[in-house]
Subunit: 436 residues, 4 copies
């Protein structure tokens, strides 16, 4: 029972992402570290760095052995890294000292932890890609279905000009595509093995250090880094920033949904809203709120991963630990947001009638820009703008419709039906949806 | 087994603070919310707002009932707050519908959650105060013991002039005192009941809303807020900032310890350092590193609590949830840092011999300022400064001691013994310790 | 012409605060540093530390001399602090080497810069207090005027129950009061002289270091610090956090105003809104937006001041410079927000008619909580809640008024006039305003 | 004279980057906006959207007209964007109302401001690329020159094993390469025109909106966006994050330089250090400190740009203004850091003699790992590790050299000359430099 809504028993159905959390669990970490140790031994056996039968034994044991994460706690507290305790526990559990001595041959703790992290980040990156695709699919479908659903655009919280709900949704989709491009590019930089030994020179790995690194990478289906990255944490920082951007894009969706589902706007229904402990009429946009929260949370925490880029000398215990505290949270928060966004995309119900009545409630002023361009075909544009401006003022002051005021005050031959028809004033909205 | 080093089975002996984490556990939250519901019923019974026997029954039940936090998860996911589910589960568990109907009478979810939070923050604030006192005590003792232990001060990473280890430690103590003052002042603002109903007007609490609030506050030994604080989160923000400042002050201690225990400086020994998986000579300053990490972590996350000050209208699901994600972490990180600082204060061993030899290794240049002030009694100060500057250059270039160069190049009647005696060049260092 | 909207010629009428910016201008910094150097000489003359006539000459010169800030740039770039260049320029400008040599006697750069900062922060703190008072006054007046103006409260973006505009405004006022309390407390900790010499021991200040410090403090009407604060930056951090909280409280006001002035809500008019380059009907809530922006900005940057608490050893060039980059911005942003908030408080026009019509548009569902408590006097509360819940569903589905549905489905003797009268359902709203 | 060290007359020679600042000056902004307005008219003339002679006149005027930025201040303060005032001033300055009416035809303020921003970001991105290349070149040269300069690696602030200075420098270079890759990829996403009209639908641009956008992009040599990006700010966020990563990588260099140039380590000389106002022996690593400061600053502020991803509806005045406050600073800070890093790379002087003596001062314990691997060829590795561990303890306790202790306590046939020869214990250090 955790302090964190991400895995609290109370909160985790709303704020949790079990798939992502599982990747950062203690058992997943131990499992991944053992996998790395096992594979390292295997390739070292193949390269003749350590005896082949020891390598075989170690690798098999790495898959079979059960190590209780809690058994590493004392060692972790003493050493500031769990690997010495893990190696000790692994050796002991093997019950074959003649082989066990070859475990962790020439590696350093950071090699094991970072490679084990990368293995799990690979799964996470794939999960994010799948969810992004799924979300794109759902939203693209929604945009197409609602391509011609006219609504008011709002800029700076005020009704501006007509748009379509489809175009709004398309605006949610486009950044997601770019995020997938970014993620694809990041893979090559992020998903690389770390095997550089105590100080980044791999000195204890012996003459076959380079071959060992390449073989380990191949065995784990990871890339080979351009150089040691114990202290060059830029790809971790790039991942964190990208996740924060993804969560931010989803936060924008959430914010829009909250605003569109306000009682007074009521242009979309979010499916099933949250209940109040005391007000039966409430239907709180819980999922949409969660998108905003996760977007603000990742934006609020990403800077720390960037602070930890300032990683002193050949290993920095403070900067590295900062990553441990922050990175899993950014991953989980993004995962949570993606899950909710997918569900929300499936549940969103626009209310075209309400959209039209909100447009109607503007007494035609939503068409002021269109009117001024229409008039500008018959008079200089500043004059047209001034005329419309005055008409807007009259309309609002006297409770009249803008069209009535304009028709009364101008005899220019304007097709007012076109100007005041929202479906003919949505510009490229349809094209935007079409481009998806 | 959590994603977070704060309560991971592997990491929590280093990065965990069980006492603080316990306050933010699911069971503690459920317990605290039930306590608030129980006390609310009790005072409402006393005030005649609800039947007295129901009040009695509810309050007793609130202490006896066992509610599984996981049973609230579905309700939480639906409603975005756990209280409706809690109230439902509590009512059901009471098996007395005639009384159960009076549970949560007139309150809103936020009243219950915020008051339940405050109850636990009270325990936390007390814990922080105790630890601050304990740390102050340990460091004050250390400062006094080492009052006359001369060492080099370093400014901008360069050796500057002599100081004493006692004065350095005193410099760690003084902010802690101010933090305790701040904490004492914060108590009155933070530790107040919340009972303002659905929209901050307490309308469902009826005509005795004010009395009920005061009675509840008294029953819980909390203060009465100046007004509804559902959306005025300044005291939460003040707490978060103060904790971040405390962790920052401890981070400064950690940073100093790391720098003083570097291999090449070696002026303090941190007791038992962390081992390396491969380098037996290493003794990593794990506890000191953790202080820096926690200081950077809290500074990196405090802004989010301040972001959530922008709490829309009469309740903002996004801003409020951001608090839930962040506040417990700031509390735990500060708690972790305080624990380590206390232990570290007990383990720190200055090495006076090394301190002297590091001073000696400067070939007297650490006394350059003192020399220039001594010479300035015999010539204009700019001339004295220039003379010393030249002498420093000669000394460094020729591998000579500054005193030798100065004695060879000036015949001013200066007491060079005094100038080059570190114990006579520590200014107010002793007074600083004395002021503790 | 600056890169920053805070003092860009284009942007500064919206985003600038000339009074605060002036405190952080180059000339103000030079002037303040000279003032400190002058006063230091004066008190050292009085204490017999330096010749009295030199002291007199220095202090007079410090007030008369004109030093071009740009002339310090090379020295600043070389030394990382402007004080050596300032002292050199000051000495030169005095044209009296016999006196000039006593300038900056025993002080270090940080003493001068920090004390000069504190002198300007004193003016700033006073400015903030005055503006807070002025804002409180304006808002308190507004709250009182609108004490009985009934409006819908919104929780989680949905209409909740009735409240009054006065109560909403009172909710804006209360945190401001607490901020003034905090500021008052902070003064004593923040507004203290710094005079601790090269390494915090004041060794070059000689035997009268303590007296000199106290005399300087008195001369500048500042306090005496409990100890050297070159590296104990907690009061700077406290100031930054408090400003961020203030700006956050103002951001909440801005957010509320934006939401209430949305086209579809239209319950307040912000006086004169911003125009669009193309849409004549727009009236953008520019001032309110600026409050939100400044609140998010300060929250986004405060953590850096907290990062700089981790100030290494006896002076840390990196952490200190971080303060220089950030602190003026936090001050200016808060100043900007305060100015706009005061203006906005004077311009805000609630629209009581629209508030009532928005309540009416809920078809009575805003009174659902009230209805369920009214019914609960005639039946068990869960039954009452269920009945109202069903009635709300019917009303929304069938386009009926909740009162009609309830009257048709229950024969309980309820005073429905009271239940559905917004002015009788505002609970303690009036008291909240009264408590101001 | 600005509040900000970035352009303060006192501070800007250290903390300023005139080339980058110039891009964000008021005049550059006005110039860029006029350029966009002029080009828009030009392409609209070519497409027959507006009269060709008006287009010609507007475009020519856009290059010739002088508009005082301060003249836009009132309009900016009123509207929250400077474009309406700019358009008005431009029209007036043209003194040809018959043409002037076609200025800004169908565009919205954000189109102009964002496109004008992108034009300047293009220059900035090119500047960053050039500086990155230059820095890479300088550091690569330094790494090659010092490929065989042996020094101690430090992990967690303790001496670990030998490495070379060349390898350390190579470790600084590799992230820079990746940053250039990232920047190259970002160009396509970032450097695109914005032309989407009032609400993202380009409705006022008429039937040729798409053609106009493409023509404008071509005229400005920018790309065409995949869709409207008024509210999809991901590429701005990507830029900010990348700059923060770059500054972070440079901060790591600065941190390493500070640590290596400490008085007690003294392994590198930074050329000319900063002077103290009172201590003539000091040589403060001002440039290196500035790298750390800028790295921490960008990391501390990047999250705000990510907060502003949550950009409400079709334009969000709060989120957009947050970009204005933050983005220029991130650009300048990164620019400052790049400049200093280039200079520093040219000034850095390693001190090979001191590096060797620092290795020698470890009494051979720096070779403990090497010794244990050497012994492990003659006995099981745990036994070898234990033997070396005991020998390290003896050596440190008795003030002996590790080699002497080992030779005395083992008769294994080990080539101790090789084990204790730093030049033979640097593993892949040479290869790492070679890979540059």
């Amino acid at each position: 029972m955790s302090f964190s809504p991400f895995d609290s028993a109370i909160f985790r159905k709303l704020y949790g992402d079990p798939e992502t959390s599982a990747l950062f669990s203690d058992s997943a970490e131990v499992r991944a570290m053992l996998l790395v140790e096992g594979m390292l031994a295997k390739v070292q056996g193949e390269l003749g760095v350590i005896p082949e039968d020891s390598a075989f034994f170690i690798q098999r044991s790495s898959m079979e052995v059960q190590i209780d994460p809690a058994a590493l706690a004392d060692g972790m507290a003493r050493d500031g890294v769990p690997v010495p305790a893990l190696v000790e526990a692994f050796r002991k559990a093997m019950e074959a000292p003649e082989h066990a001595q070859y475990v962790h041959w020439g590696a350093t703790s950071q090699d094991i932890m970072d490679t084990a992290l990368v293995l799990r980040l690979r799964q996470f990156v794939t999960l994010v890609e799948k969810r992004l695709e799924s979300l794109e699919g759902a939203l693209t479908g929604l945009a197409r279905e609602t391509r011609d659903v006219v609504m008011a655009a709002r800029t700076r919280s005020q009704i501006a000009t007509p748009t379509t709900f489809g175009a709004v949704v398309a605006g949610w989709v486009l950044p997601l595509r770019r995020h997938r491009e970014r993620l694809a590019r990041l893979r090559g930089r992020l998903l690389v093995v770390s095997l550089s030994g105590a100080s980044g020179t791999a000195s204890a790995l012996g003459g076959k250090a380079g071959e060992t690194e390449r073989a380990l990478a191949e065995a784990l289906k990871l890339g080979v880094a351009e150089g040691p990255w114990h202290t060059a944490r830029d790809s971790i920082g790039e991942l964190a920033a990208l996740l924060s951007l993804i969560a931010g894009s989803l936060g924008k969706i959430g914010q829009d949904v909250i605003l569109l589902s306000q009682s007074e706007v009521a242009e979309i229904d979010t499916g099933k809203g949250g209940g109040s402990s005391t007000m039966p009429q409430k239907s709180n946009p819980v999922a949409a709120e969660t998108l905003v929260t996760m977007g603000r949370f990742t934006a609020g925490i990403v800077g720390q991963i960037h602070q930890s880029q300032i990683h002193a000398q050949q290993r920095d215990g403070t900067a590295w630990a900062q990553e441990w505290l922050v990175l899993p949270q950014i991953c989980i928060a993004t995962g949570v947001a993606l899950q909710h966004a997918i569900t929300l995309a499936g549940n969103l119900q626009p209310n075209p009638g309400r959209m039209l009545s909100n447009i109607a409630a503007t007494s035609g002023t939503i068409f002021a820009e269109a009117a001024s361009f229409a008039l500008a075909e018959h008079m200089p544009r500043p004059e047209a703008q001034e005329k419309v401006k005055q008409a807007v003022h009259s309309a609002l002051r006297d409770g009249k419709h803008l069209r009535d005021v304009l028709e009364a005050t101008t005899d220019a031959d304007v097709d007012w039906n076109a100007v005041f028809d929202a479906t003919r004033q949505t510009g490229r909205a349809t094209d935007i949806v079409g481009s998806l």
